[in-house]
């Protein structure tokens, strides 16, 4: 025989009419960037990268002041000392404190990196943006020019330009910027071409908006994602190129230190067993590249809607 379930009164309470409550089951609505940030935060490796970058920047600013030595004072009685209590990173072959030089070098290397990336960004965004929006013949010509410049091996170009210019910080930055913007321009152009088809752009044009207004207000904010990733990844490239230039004697003039010049100065020191002089700038360069690379990758993943969980 069937047993009927016992029916109690509290099974028949009225349903809650609060629709807003219903939505609480769903994810709260987020702005685009907040969403990106949350996803980024969950990527442990990327966060390590970000924190490393921040620490490096902080050390670059305050590091040279931390232990009272300057980056240029020489003391030959204390040359080639291993890291010790007084000189935390040791000294180089002229008795200069390596800790101070390392963070002074951080300033220069990071400055070159960021500056080159920034200039690439500015030129690239406007070149690619205009090319994309204008389309047609303008686009064609602009892109052909870019292609031609792109065909010259980057390092080759930089070296050639460095021979013509005088040695110096800005020469290096300029040399790197002359062809560095092309990838950015291509990226932006691609994005712009895609977005151009959207209705909101048609609407804006119909309302009489100028090209630059559309670029600034609509295109660029919507392409910031890939642009940021590109910037993040071009910083380490710049640092790498700078190190190579230093090796070829085309780097920062002495006695200023960049990680690149510190590394190439120290190549001879391993012949007499002083590995730390080479390891320190090498480790710093690697750390920086690692940090930017994982952060850039994480950013790219965070921006990719396909990976949304």
């Amino acid at each position: 025989m069937n047993k009927k379930p016992k029916l109690t009164k509290d099974m028949f309470l009225p349903v809650d009419n609060d629709f807003k409550e219903a939505e609480k089951i769903a994810r709260p609505s987020l702005s685009y960037w907040a969403d990106v940030w949350i996803r980024l935060r969950e990527n442990r490796l990327a966060m390590i990268g970000l924190i490393t970058i921040i620490v490096l920047i902080i050390m670059a600013i305050i590091g040279p002041y931390l232990n009272g030595y300057t980056f240029y004072e020489q003391d030959f009685t204390k040359k080639n000392l291993r890291p010790n209590a007084e000189h935390w990173f040791g000294t180089d072959s002229s008795g200069r404190d390596l800790f101070t030089r390392a963070w002074y070098g951080a300033r220069i290397s990071l400055f070159i990196g960021f500056m080159a990336a920034f200039i690439d960004f500015v030129i690239g965004v406007f070149y690619g943006g205009i090319s994309g929006i204008r389309g047609g013949k303008t686009d064609n010509i602009m892109m052909r020019i870019a292609e031609v410049l792109y065909a010259i091996p980057f390092l080759l170009m930089v070296i050639l330009i460095m021979i013509v210019l005088e040695r110096g910080l800005w020469s290096i930055i300029i040399a790197m910027s002359i062809t560095g913007w092309i990838q950015m321009a291509r990226l932006v152009r691609g994005q712009v071409l895609q977005l151009k088809e959207n209705e909101f752009v048609q609407a804006a044009t119909a309302m009489g908006a100028s090209t630059s207004w559309i670029l600034r207000k609509h295109m660029i904010p919507n392409t910031m994602g890939p642009i940021l990733v590109n910037i993040t990844l071009s910083v380490p490239t710049a640092i790498f190129v700078e190190a190579t230039l230093s090796f070829l004697g085309l780097g920062i003039p002495a006695p200023q230190a960049s990680w690149g010049t510190m590394a190439s100065d120290a190549l001879g020191s391993i012949l007499i067993g002083n590995f730390y002089q080479l390891m320190i700038p090498a480790a710093l360069i690697s750390l920086t590249m690692f940090a930017f690379n994982v952060f850039g990758d994480g950013l790219r993943d965070a921006l990719d809607p396909k990976l949304r969980k």
């Binding site: 004072e73 072959s93 002229s94 005088e166 003039p253 002495a254 100065d265 001879g268 020191s269 007499i272």
Partner: protein, 550 residues
Amino acid sequence: MKKKLGSTLILILSTFFVLAGCFGGGTTKEPASNDSGKPSDETEETAPKVLRLNNSSEPGSLHPGTAQGTHDSWILEHAFEGLTKKTQEGEIIPGMAEEWETSEDGLTWTFHLRDGIHWSNGEQVTAADFEYAWKYALNPESASTYAYQLYYLEGGQEFNEGKAGEDKVGVTATDEKTLEVKLAQPTPYFLDLTSFYTYYPINQKVQEANPEWYQEADTYVSNGAFKLTEWKHKESIKLAKNEHYYEQDKINLDEVHFVIIDDENTAWQMYQAGELDLVYPLPQDVQGQLMANNDPEFVAGPDLSVYYYNINNNVKPFNNPKVRKALSMAIERQTIVDHVAQGGQPPAYSVVPPGIPDVNGDYQENTGKLFEENLDEAKKLLEEGLAEEGMDQIPNFTLTYNTSEGHKAIAEAVQEMWRKNLGIEMTLENVEFQVKLDREKAGDYTISRAGWVGDYVDPMTFMDLWVTDGPYNDADWSNAEYDKLVQTAKTTMDQEVRMKAMHDAEKILMDEMPILPIYFYTKPFTVKPNVTGIYTPINRYPQFIYADIE
């Protein structure tokens, strides 16, 4: 689609493998018995004695007339021989010429060539070969860098400048074995010059038949202890004993192999790994360590050169001698030598290096210290000098040096010394060697690093540098008294008069300090213990003509 992709990649990969295989197989293998550098089995008497050296750079030209520097001369000095040659002590002894006479006025020299001298192709070496070679170097069409070395000959300079004909040059082969030389003025060190490579002979027949004979090993003809057997451009050069050399029984080596490695560090590592028998130059830090440890393989050879800073005397306030002297006095030379250059170099308080015989004793020893380092005096002079120029501070200026770790370290040290001792702000600039030369000639610099190697063993090779409007006077300094003294020393054969004049001239030079001497070079190198017989005459690279390997 996938298949296409896969097969394409396999195609690309296999292409790489094939290419690697093609080019990988074609390289030659070194004779194993010499690769390790260890004296292996003594019973193996038939193993050839091969000396392995590094020439640092591809030779610019292995033609005696158009050679450009040490990357050419090291090989030339062993492939060729001039009228005379030098011993370890720097003594001039007969080479191709067995005896010579000079006229009373010192203007005419007559050389008599010895018997049995042959080119590496068997032909006889004649006096005509010398005459031909010297005229070839002086010919403006040859564009010889060292033609000026032959200006001592009558008519030499005029011919080279295109103002006179070849027949006016004072060298004639009066017969097969006699060479008559007429000089433009009496030159006491002329004999020394005849051992310099610009004075080597050239086989006239070979040159006329094939003007490019010197560019490849199979067409190369020379008259010295060794002949060129292989030249893989930018890679390696091989010399072998010249069986036609008149003294070939004194030559122990069978072959000499040069690699061409530019990077000092790499060359040192090759030496450490036993792939080279001798290394020169050495990386600075390595030098310091070897000296400090008294390493038995380290040899502190002598050199005849001075390391100095050129000052552009036309730029204010460096036109003022007091300012220049102040700069000089504020440099701590001993510190630089001990901790930066690290080669046991003597600090320079004059310009002529040690090693040149004076009337009595050594010229530089007799010179002594022509100035002293003194910080207080330096500060005082600087103030006075600036005041005289109407300035109260030296503006930030640039010191230019040619790209090299060594020069950079020294420049950094000097920069710091001037900052610490005199409160001067200065920028360093490194440019390529060619650029530096160009800018010095054009006067487009403020202070630049320079060095000068003596061409012959006499103080004149240095004193001559700073005569008014001299071709090497990049400082653009001028002093009439100095010019007069130098001229005196050039035109007399009386050594006492000459030496005194040059000593006096040097005093004037150091009094006005148009250039800042830093140190006198040494020639530190390392050589494996099983290699003997290497000697270093003062202004030559290590000579291996009589070397032997155990």
